[in-house]
């Protein structure tokens, strides 16, 4: 699998993804009211932007399909991913879900920010790659709590930010 062919698969996904987003905006633009006070209206520019994206996406699809037809190894790699790749993807997905949960908790407005910050710091450091030994986890926990407390104090007492706080 050379770089170019791998680039072909990535470009294909990128082009299809961009075209899908552009299609979503284009369809939403069709529902906008017709112009009344000025010639163009609210829908004209979004439609133009979407059309430019469609053209570029079409160009990329053709280019990437040609690359993939020359070498289909990246498709094989996609269908049978290496264990390392799957593990990494699971970590990324897990981190996004964790972050989502953190924002939900923050939105709840009950848990103090210092706790949220400490957990975010602790989990982030371990997920990114610090060794998961007991001393490290303990150290990160205390460090995260100190960091969270400091941030909570600064943002509530100095910047007067409205967040749930202990102190």
């Amino acid at each position: 699998m050379d770089d170019n062919s791998n680039d072909g698969l990535i470009s294909l996904i990128a082009a299809l993804g961009a075209a899908a987003i552009a299609a979503g905006f284009y369809l939403a633009a069709l529902t906008l009211p017709a112009p009344r006070f000025e010639p163009m209206g609210s829908a004209a520019v979004p439609k133009m932007i979407a059309v430019v994206i469609f053209i570029c996406a079409a160009f990329e699809v053709v280019r990437s399909l040609r690359l993939l037809m020359a070498d289909s190894a990246p498709l094989e790699a996609l269908l049978h991913p290496a264990p390392g790749t799957l593990r990494r993807a699971a970590f990324v997905l897990g981190y996004i879900i964790f972050f989502f949960a953190v924002v939900l908790v923050l939105q709840g407005g009950v848990v103090p920010f210092m706790v949220i910050a400490a957990v975010l710091f602790w989990v982030g450091a371990l997920v990114i790659g610090l060794p998961r030994s007991w001393p490290m986890m303990l150290g990160l926990g205390f460090g995260g709590l100190a960091f969270g407390t400091l941030l909570e104090l600064v943002f509530t007492r100095v910047f007067f930010v409205n967040i749930p706080a202990v102190f």
């Binding site: 010639p39 209206g41 923050l106 990114i128």
Partner: protein, 498 residues
């Protein structure tokens, strides 16, 4: 001149000086740590600038920019890992010099070259930006629209490896700027049922998410690398601050090249460094020494990458067009402070313009003093695990975006753009054009619609607007030329095969 002196005098007040020292210091620290960039730091610092005066905010951010670009040379020279993309070419001769036992000489030479590049670029910024702004004051809606489109196409084409991907990223950024109230007609559009979106997407969570949180997400599961840096003493370093006269023409040439390249939209310090390095090598009597620890190579790259900052500030100040991704964030900072961008900036807010210019000039000297004084300690920074820093960055992302407006929607927007940024990076869609498209789309749309209204709903003849027509022609040429060249090459190959 009066404004310049006033801006200089204002900068020497305690708070702006504190901001400058803090900005340069943080910039150098972040620049020195591989994997963290000045862009990320400046995006993260944006929320803090809400409470500041606009001039103080620009002082902090521009100082971070100067420090961030300069700090990259430390890890480039000591561990062969560029702290920032601008320092990639510094590794070519900097690291071989360190391996030959000349780490102190390489660092001293790099720091001094950064200062020279910055100062020469400062002088050019001072000389070019105001006259360019006075020319741009005669521009109408079509000229502005054409200028924005030209900048976007240039940024998209020159910033990444694939032109169509760059354009796609730029136009995707434009699409994402559309949700909210259409300022021309008053219609609410693209809120997709989320009523809070009718006020539009705030620039801050978009920038922080795209540049900072996306890095944290990308790093998840990436493992940890430990690095060991060489140690350099302060006396050893200061002892090497001599014998630079032989490099004076190289410094001047590379700084001029760096400024010129920085002025072109979308071309960053890395390209400036590459061009200056290539020019110096081709002019050298001993080109074979390049890559083996040639002082000339190191001097040219460090002069050029620092000079490119001044160059990229020229279109920002005079036209309101970002010359680089960091400039797009600086524009964001100005928008947050309700400052009107474009050529009128110098008329309506000369204090901001001259504060940016003077900060850039003085920050280079602060950077020089700090780098020389702190390099023995900064060298150890490269050994801090990246996981620790990025996890702290994630906490700053959350509190920074929330604190700006006390609005939880901004944290959701942060998460959305963090994930989107990570996906774009994975799909090799460049982030620079995406963010610049996001920043420039409202200007492009407003100017285009104003232009159409002025011409009673008709598309005007290019002869009526020759400057706008020329700029659009450049944009089209940049877009079409690579396709023509590729088709021509394919036809040539086919002919050769036959």
């Amino acid at each position: 001149m009066d404004f310049l002196l006033t801006a200089g005098a204002t900068l020497f007040a305690p708070f702006p000086m504190l901001m400058m020292f803090l900005g340069v210091f943080l910039g150098i620290v972040v620049g020195a740590i591989p994997g963290l960039s000045a862009t990320m730091l400046i995006a993260l610092a944006l929320p803090m600038t809400y409470l500041m005066k606009d001039t103080d905010a620009m002082t902090l951010l521009v100082s971070m920019y100067v420090g961030g670009i300069s700090g990259g040379l430390i890890s480039a020279i000591l561990i062969n890992m560029p702290g920032t993309p601008s320092s990639i070419f510094t590794t070519l001769d900097g690291f071989p010099m360190a391996r030959q036992g000349k780490a102190a000489r390489a660092l001293a030479l790099g720091v001094l070259s950064s200062l020279v590049g910055g100062v020469i670029s400062f002088v050019l910024l001072l000389a070019v930006a105001p006259p360019l702004a006075s020319i741009a004051l005669r521009f109408g809606p079509w000229e502005f629209f054409a200028m924005v489109m030209m900048a976007l196409v240039l940024i998209s084409s020159l910033g990444g490896r694939s032109f169509s991907k760059g354009i796609m990223a730029g136009f995707l950024g434009m699409l994402f700027s559309l949700p909210g109230i259409d300022p021309t007609s008053g219609n609410i559009r693209f809120t997709f049922g989320i009523s809070d979106l009718s006020a539009g997407l705030s620039l801050l969570p978009v920038l922080v998410g795209t540049f900072a949180l996306s890095q944290v997400i990308m790093a998840a599961g990436g493992g940890i690398e430990t690095m060991e840096s060489k140690r350099v003493g302060l006396r050893e370093l200061t002892g090497q601050l001599r014998g630079f006269a032989g490099h004076k023409w190289n410094m001047l040439r590379s700084s001029l090249l760096g400024t010129w390249i920085g002025l072109l939209p979308g071309i960053g310090g890395n390209i400036a460094a590459m061009v200056a390095y290539s020019a110096t090598r081709s002019l050298s009597k001993t080109p074979e020494r390049f890559g083996q620890g040639a002082e000339e190579g190191l001097v040219s790259t460090e002069c050029a990458n620092n000079a490119s900052i001044g160059g990229s500030l020229i279109p920002l100040i005079s036209l309101g067009i970002p010359g680089s991704t960091v400039d797009a964030i600086l524009i964001g900072a100005l928008l947050i402070h309700n400052v009107q961008l474009g050529p009128l900036l110098i008329v309506n807010n000369p204090e901001i313009v001259f504060s940016i210019v003077m900060t850039y000039g003085i920050a280079n000297f602060v950077m020089f003093a700090m780098m020389i004084g702190f390099i023995p300690y900064l060298a150890r920074l490269v050994e801090i695990p990246r996981a620790l820093i990025l996890s702290a960055v994630s906490v700053f992302c959350v509190i920074g975006t929330y604190a700006a407006n006390n609005r939880i929607l901004d944290v959701w927007v942060l998460l959305f753009f963090g994930v989107l940024g990570a996906v774009l990076m994975r799909l090799k869609l460049p982030l620079g054009p995406f963010v610049i498209g996001f920043v420039l789309a409202p200007i492009a749309e407003a100017e285009m619609r104003a232009g159409i209204m002025l011409s009673n709903g008709e598309i005007p003849s290019p002869a009526d607007y020759p400057i706008a027509a020329a700029m659009l022609a450049v944009a089209v040429l940049v877009a079409v030329l690579p396709v023509i060249m590729r088709l021509r090459n394919t036809a040539l190959l086919k002919r050769q095969e036959q």
